[in-house]
Symmetry: C2
Subunit: 109 residues, 2 copies
């Protein structure tokens, strides 16, 4: 049962893992508005360039962004914009958590 589904689920999990980091989510939000060079993203995020470069390579490996070298800069762009639709549902989860939290507080208080 599980073994049969495992290859497909592994593939999905790999994509989700690539998404599951705040800096990488931020990169996606920025790229939604258009391509950016590594230097721009680095400045916006405020980590070391090498760190940002590694985050970008994770997203690229996962097939979520594509890179293009122009001059001595590398520009990244979203390959799969639908990724961002995703987050409607995630917000649902977060809101229901917030409700629960509020309920817990009022039950305790």
């Amino acid at each position: 049962m599980y073994q049969q589904r495992k290859p497909a689920l592994d593939a999905r999990a790999r994509i989700l893992k690539a998404l599951a980091h705040p800096s990488r989510l931020f990169i996606l939000e920025v790229l939604e508005a258009g391509e950016r060079c590594v230097c721009d993203l680095t400045e916006m995020i405020g980590s070391d360039v090498s760190t940002v470069s590694k985050h970008l390579s994770v997203l690229k490996q996962a097939g979520i962004v594509a890179d293009q070298k122009r001059g001595n800069q590398v520009f990244y762009q979203l390959r799969v914009p639908c990724i961002l639709n995703f987050f409607g549902c995630i917000e649902t989860v977060l809101q229901s958590q917030a409700r629960d939290h509020a309920a817990t507080l009022s039950a305790v208080g």
Copy 2:
């Protein structure tokens, strides 16, 4: 820029991390059809019960599933079914990867 968005992005990343494991994705697929006890899920997955229990607790912590004790069994159910809509887009990513891979092979061959 990033610092301002960080709390929201952390929250999203937390949810995505909870999803990013093949056994946990499998659990969600099974629960889509209705609630299940830990013992059922354990048998389907084929790992140690303690491992499955820990996966369930990750999903519960993230607010994605809810548990309910009845007798000496614990039943888990999906709290946020929209999570599953998610995967349409992920499949898009995977398909575009498959296309790239095929293109690479034919370019090489």
